[in-house]
């Protein structure tokens, strides 16, 4: 009998999974066990884009597919398995790019309202970033006020979504060679919305039926996400709320406090959460909480809204994606405030077993059974106050069935690419030179971005942590975002002390600079910060002319969402080898998979790979890093020779 897979490596989660079973609560872990993934849909071999189907075109069970078998593998409309797999894949990109980009649009709308003085309670906190974006977009600075500049930036940002021709403007931040490559391949995005809409058109029944052409449109839409919608979200959030700098905090369910009003903030957009952070510190609110018998108000976060308020305010993390239900199971969460993305519909059902109020805040994301307090950017303080009051009112209704795990771990987060630049050289010598030099001299073998979700099909957090430990052990500096960063945080990898897990070279550098070997750069839209960091490495010089020359790799070992596919695709199209775990959604077509795994390397210098085993995946990444080191001629330590005068004369004579 096969050994049962552990549900998590995190003790706090395991305790709450056990408590959930005792309390009669059904979680994602139970549901994943009860419902196996559809084997045809999992590999991209099911098309449900019209009512002649759904059509299933699975690979034959025999190892070799005959030409006859292949001819038969078509939908009713005649679409081949390749077309179907490519359609499904790029529809995932469209979904992911739409999610990130609509987040960016929401930020841009609030940003413009703040700039015009129409959103009370908000301010433009980071003038430095405001000027940076103004320079990027050619917006006049002169003696104009920050608000005047911001109005132009806000309008420009919104116009990037609906642009019909030309190129999105942040594309010009990429290395010059990369920009040229995108133009040659015909994948430079014209406008953010346009590329997403075009995917939906091309994948409609009877439109684009060339899998290569479909996948190229997937590339174009993904670039509109990474260098467009996501980057706009990151940059404008930085101007509004501040560019992240290192901040000390804690992670895991133990941050929930028994004697305080616990508000968990969950989702992805920090627009309202920023205001909840401010309101929860209001003395009037704290007094109200005390009058309800609580000692104060405790905020903590789940998923990427949590990452956003962590990197700017140090608000602790209650946990990652698969801990959202488990936080409720503690019985001590008084309100869970959700915005958009990665929110499980089971939350209101679970909340019924306890006293918790689930509060939806976005008109785009309502859940039956939840209380809806709509976020109004023109009156955000009032929305935030209403939410905090709801939590305070829930506090006295807590049941006796409270059990909060004790586990918490310290972490340091907030490594924006600007802060890394500053940390490596200070105000007067800010530079990526020390990083490049240490890669060239071999102390650091390369850099890996490990990002993405949790997935109950694999042991929670295990794949992330095992992969990251293997990478840093081999002197690979790891940069992170999203739920993956939270997994590493729980394992204690986001503190400088984690240098003990690193190889000798990487540990030396981390100890000298005073940074952890694993750097938390933010939320999932903040993967755009990783794009900027690798671009800075290219532009600093010494490691080639393009991102694809760098000894770097990417991974999303526990991925589950369409956003992860969009991120992976723009990372690949930016020139980075990227390994995904869990399962791979095009395995139903060898041609499509080969195009993504092999042909893309010739086209973009980066390609996809699939490897569910974290150690093997880490070694694939290390092998790629070594391949790039060899191509750069930095794979071997060079003998250092001190030239005497005779040797110099000899050199001159040549």
């Amino acid at each position: 009998m096969a050994e049962e897979k552990a549900k998590s490596i995190d003790n706090a989660s395991l305790k709450m999974i056990e408590k959930a079973a005792k309390d009669g609560v059904n979680t994602a872990f139970d549901r994943a066990e009860a419902m196996k993934p559809c084997p045809i849909g999992m590999v991209g071999s099911c098309c449900k884009n019209c009512s002649m189907g759904p059509c299933r075109v699975p690979l034959p069970k025999s190892l070799e597919e005959t030409p006859e078998d292949k001819r038969k593998r078509r939908g009713v409309c005649g679409a081949t398995a390749e077309t179907i797999a490519a359609r499904n894949f790029i529809r995932m990109i469209a979904g992911g790019a739409a999610a990130h980009s609509d987040h960016g649009r929401g930020v841009a709308e609030l940003f413009l309202a703040v700039a015009k003085g129409e959103a009370s309670g908000y301010e433009l906190k980071d003038e430095q970033k405001l000027l940076q974006v103004a320079l990027d977009w050619g917006i006049e600075i002169g003696d104009r006020s920050n608000n005047e500049i911001a109005v132009d930036i806000g309008e420009k940002a919104l116009s990037e979504f609906g642009k019909q021709e030309g190129e999105i403007d942040f594309l010009r931040r990429a290395p010059l060679k990369r920009q040229e490559l995108w133009r040659q391949q015909g994948v430079a995005p014209r406008g953010i919305d346009r590329e997403i809409v075009e995917i939906m058109h091309r994948t409609h029944m009877g439109v684009d039926q060339d899998y290569k052409n479909l996948l190229q449109q997937g590339v174009r839409a993904s670039l509109a996400d990474g260098w467009g919608g996501s980057m706009i979200a990151t940059e404008l959030q930085d101007i509004l709320f501040g560019t992240p700098a290192p901040v000390l905090s804690k992670v895991n369910l133990g941050v929930i406090k028994k004697d305080e009003v616990n508000i968990i903030i969950h989702g992805h957009e920090p627009l309202l959460s920023e205001m909840i952070v401010a309101v929860s510190q209001d003395p009037e609110m704290i007094e109200l909480a005390k009058s309800s018998g609580a000692k104060g108000i405790n905020l903590a976060g789940i998923c990427c809204t949590a990452n956003e308020i962590l990197i700017r305010h140090g608000v602790p993390l209650a946990g990652n994606f698969l801990q959202q239900e488990l936080a409720l199971v503690t019985g001590a969460v008084d309100a869970m405030v959700v915005d958009v993305q990665c929110i499980m519909q089971s939350l209101p059902d679970i909340a019924q077993c306890y006293h918790t109020k689930i509060i939806t805040t976005s008109p785009k994301a309502k859940i039956p059974g939840a209380v809806h307090v709509e976020f109004d950017e023109h009156n955000a303080v009032e929305s935030a106050r209403a939410i905090v009051k709801t939590a305070i009112e829930a506090f006295p209704k807590r049941g006796s069935n409270i059990d909060i795990p004790k586990e918490t771990t310290d972490l340091v987060a907030g490594f924006s690419h600007e802060t890394i630049n500053y940390l490596l050289g200070g105000i007067f010598r800010a530079s990526y030179r020390p990083l490049n030099d240490n890669i060239i001299n071999g102390r650091i073998r390369g850099v890996a971005g490990v990002v993405g979700c949790n997935n109950p099909r694999v042991t929670h957090d295990d794949i992330h942590v095992t992969m990251i430990k293997e990478l840093i052990k081999n002197d690979v500096l790891v940069v992170q975002t999203g739920c993956s960063a939270m997994a590493a945080a729980k394992a204690g990898l986001l503190t400088p002390e984690a240098a003990k897990y690193a190889g000798k070279g990487l540990a030396e550098v981390c100890e000298t600079v005073g940074i952890p070997p694993v750097l938390h750069m933010g939320s999932c839209v903040d993967n755009s910060r990783i794009l900027m960091a690798v671009t800075a490495m290219v532009k600093e010089g010494g490691l080639g002319d393009d991102i694809s020359d760098l000894p770097v790799a990417g991974a999303a070992p526990e991925w589950m969402s369409e956003k992860a596919i969009s991120i992976g695709q723009y990372v690949v199209a930016s020139g980075i080898y990227t390994v995904f775990g869990v399962n791979w959604p095009t395995l139903g077509s060898k041609e499509v998979t080969d195009f993504l795994f092999k042909d893309m390397e010739d086209m973009y210098g980066g390609m996809w790979a699939f490897e569910p085993d974290p150690i093997r995946a880490a070694h694939l990444m290390i092998a790629h890093i070594d391949k790039k080191r060899k191509a750069l001629g930095i794979d071997k330590a060079r003998e250092r020779v001190l030239y005497d005068m005779d040797m110099r004369r000899e050199l001159d004579a040549v």
Binding site: D126, E127, Q128, L131, Q132, L135, D136, I141, R172, R173, P175, L176, K177, Q179, E180, G242, T243, A245, P246, V247, L248, G414, E418, T419, N421, Y422, I427, F428, A430, S431, Y432, T535, A536, V538, K539, E540, G541, G542, L543, G544, D545
Partner: protein, 72 residues
């Protein structure tokens, strides 16, 4: 950053203005722990920092590996 100017007696002159220390005193505490952008005070300082610190994108000429290339 704001420079400290100290007045000191000088031989043959009454008092002269001398540039004071430019280092940070000790370990930052409270809100400022880990933060660095507040060190750039005026807009002029911030623009100068962008040209130098963020020179990969904002120096007057292309930087590093791209210095020798024609603009894309």
């Amino acid at each position: 950053m704001e420079y400290k100017i100290e007045k000191k007696p000088a031989p043959g002159r009454d008092e002269v203005e001398v540039l004071g220390d430019t280092f940070e005193e000790g370990k930052p505490e409270g809100e400022d722990v880990g933060k660095w952008r507040q060190k750039l005070g005026s807009r002029e300082d911030k623009l100068k920092y962008l040209q130098n610190g963020e020179r990969y994108w904002f120096s007057e000429e292309w930087f590093g590996s791209e210095k020798r290339k024609t603009p894309a």
